[in-house]
Subunit: 469 residues, 2 copies
């Protein structure tokens, strides 16, 4: 495939169409600039060289890009901020990468209907801040919320800290405007609280990683802003198994924390080393639970969680009413991944989700897998969801270590499947989980997935190779 | 198409296969018996004569039925309890009707994972009662919950009273076992709190009315049983517009009632006439709101709702702490439809869902439509969702009245679409909303729907003519 910046090559007909159809500043052709758009943050996921990167500003411009690709059966790879960890936004050779970064308009915030309409490039935290001014709350809060976009969140069905109580992105998407593989602009979903007119196409698009259509507008449901004081319960555990047991106990008691996170010792150390956070590094793991019910129910919930932490054998457990202290602990959770990156080396990030009762067993198996493959593994988790993010650590350039980490990665997927879990809780299939997804779903269900892909994208131009392979 | 009970007709090859493959008591061939399985409760929705009705007891038996139909390209119409109001379970000539009424096993109730696994024929109320013994709660509660089945609820994405705060059936379906159009048994979805391995096929199946697969097992998410005392706020309004205004005010204030219903004067009268309930019939409409937060927050919410009822001009408004009294009012709401039936005549039931802010305007337009078409219309509503169920009343045998009611029915759909609503909030497309669905979605989205149908059911044997026409 010719790269158009190479003067000796024949002109690329798709690029020529893009240049003719769009204002000049929408199309990037410089290979060095394009390089930053050709992959997400998934370690070792393959990516190719794009023919062009386009940054449209409107639905019409997106439609023109898709139509050009459709006419030439050219791969189109949509991307948000590129914070994904599965390779879902990675370029294939000769493709057009479509970045939504310039589609940042908040089109509508409607307090009466409790909804907002945004372009896909609006950053998650920016949406939350904007609706807060209207007394409203957009719950989905992936750890990448400072950078990741609503469009990317929808394409991957992003989770986050709040979803243990408030659900994932899917639970907040009311309607989508999208450009189909044929270049048509359509609207799916609704603005009403309920609706069952036809198959749930909006739901089908959520988590489809740009393989079924390009999202150009998102209508999200909002909640009233929370006003109750948050209470944080902190527990320190000498073993990961004890921490897992604490999670099961809290769940079985019927308590619903608004966030329920786990950070292991390696991650605490990394955050301390980077941010001088002064976090305790003596315990094997720290559990952080937060309640948001109005008092006295909130206080009662916090006390119940505390009691279960103690019953599970916490070496220390405390209720924090100091919001600054609590925020620092949750900030440490959010910073775990970049902090690990600061330590140097390459990080392969897992995303398995287990039945909650299997959490302790899964944590034990991860330790065994780390030992078996001589691969250091640090773990953070949305513990209350059973969603673990073990991070497999290697040194740059250590090819043998990379091979061991990749073997450990697949072993973790197999262990999760054996315990009734899934290979991806919230990061998506992308490229890194293709094999695991096939093991999880089996050939008949994979065939159903591919039939749907073929039905909505007969030429296979939309983000080829992702989700369904 | 030959009916096999007709001795002079050649034997039906599908029926012969069914009789060979299944125990004898699974297959019904008596036309009088079959007649009760050939339609749901949708007034005036067409239905045909089935070749056989089968009542399998296991997934394997369902697979055998689908395989027989697939071999002969014979239509298969699955049904739950037949309480639907859109014709989604109506037979077509020569089809095999598959009733799930004998698949009533509750397979698993898992308190640790907060989930239950059930066969599709389990009755909604029976599931709720069974999980309550484990301290758990299954929220979706269509007014038909005493009779309707979980499988039917999933197939139609049933709503109910609780969904204003707790969501619809879709929000509780974790996984499904189904038999595909090819007769294969597959599992879609997951048992974990989160998961994004491949397209959301479980979500796609919810609300697809048996047109994409036959559901043989349902895994549902549960919540902890509510323990706080419920507080009910009752408001009487002299005009429907004032009641609509009260709903908007409560929503805008950020209060989230756990149920928020409207009953108009005609329905109150019908319930009184049937059950001697002693409900007041002086107001144009009654609003019923219930809170379930722990006190004092529950009390504060109830007082806020009361204040908004008064501000919207309620002729009377009160907080009820008497659970017996409150239950009687909600029972009246649930009984509205059968009570109207007791009055005699045929009832065409609507199911439009509006943006909440358009509720008052829509109620006004319904009054205009009733006058224009000389058709009495009684209304109950899940007011907090903007989901209205106007009931169009006619006398049996009054053909002119039937034609007027049908015209009014379509006018209500058009009015809902004009105000940004949907033609079906929770009853489904079935047959009665096919035309409205097309007007709502437009040709491009209808084409996407049909492409998915063709991808998963290439022969078009599964419940032909429903949802996508």
């Amino acid at each position: 495939m010719a790269v158009t910046s190479d003067a000796s090559a024949p002109p690329d007909p798709v690029v020529a169409e893009l240049l003719a159809a769009l204002p000049a500043d929408r199309v990037l052709l410089d290979p060095d600039v394009m390089a930053t758009y050709q992959h997400d943050e998934a370690e070792w996921a393959e990516f190719g060289r794009a023919a062009a990167v386009v940054r449209p500003r409107s639905t019409e411009e997106v439609a023109a890009v898709v139509a050009a690709c459709a006419r030439h059966a050219r791969p189109l790879v949509p991307r948000g901020a590129g914070t994904g960890l599965s390779g879902g936004a990675n370029a294939v050779d000769g493709c057009v990468v479509l970045s939504t970064e310039r589609m940042r308009e908040i089109v509508e915030i409607n307090a009466a209907e409790r909804l907002a309409v945004v372009q896909p490039g609006v950053v998650n935290d920016d949406l939350r801040a904007a609706v807060a001014e209207h007394g409203l709350w957009y719950p989905p809060d992936p750890a990448s919320s400072l950078w990741s976009t609503v469009g990317g969140n929808v394409a991957t069905n992003a989770g986050g800290l709040c979803c243990v109580k408030y659900g994932v992105t899917r639970d907040y998407v009311l309607a989508l405007e999208l450009v189909t593989a044929a270049g048509e602009v359509v609207r799916v979903g609704r603005r009403t609280a309920k609706g069952v007119a036809g198959y749930d196409l909006a739901g089908l698009m959520v988590g489809s990683e740009g393989t079924l259509g390009v999202i150009t507008e998102v209508t999200v449901k909002l909640r009233p802003l929370r006003t109750s004081p948050r209470r944080t319960v902190v527990g320190f555990f000498d073993t990961l198994a004890a921490a897992g047991d604490a999670v099961s106990r809290v769940t079985a008691r019927g308590v619903q924390p608004a966030a329920f996170e786990l950070i292991d010792r390696v991650c605490l150390h990394a955050v301390n080393a980077w941010k001088h956070a002064g976090l305790p590094e003596t315990a094997a793991a720290l559990l952080l639970a937060q309640t948001d019910l109005p008092d006295p129910a909130g206080q009662q919930e916090a006390e119940a969680i505390h009691a279960e932490f103690v019953a599970a054998g916490a070496s220390d457990a405390m209720l924090s009413t100091d919001e600054v202290e609590a925020d620092a602990l949750f900030e440490a959770r959010r910073l775990a991944y970049p902090a690990m990156e600061q330590l140097g080396g390459a990080i392969l990030t897992e995303d398995v989700c287990l039945p909650r009762g299997e959490l302790a067993e899964m944590l034990a198996r991860i330790e065994q897998i780390a030992a078996r493959h001589d691969t250091p593994i640090a773990t953070v988790a949305h513990a209350g969801d059973g969603n673990l993010h073990p991070m497999l650590l290697t040194r740059h350039g250590d090819e043998a270590g990379k091979a061991r980490a990749q073997a450990a990665f697949e072993d973790i997927l197999d262990a999760a499947l054996e315990l009734g879990g899934t290979v991806t809780g919230e990061h998506g299939v992308g490229l890194l989980k293709l094999s695991g997804m096939r093991r999880e779903l089996g050939p008949e269900v994979v065939a159903m997935q591919r039939a749907i892909k073929a039905a909505l994208d007969p030429q296979g131009i939309l983000n080829p190779g992702k989700v369904v392979g």
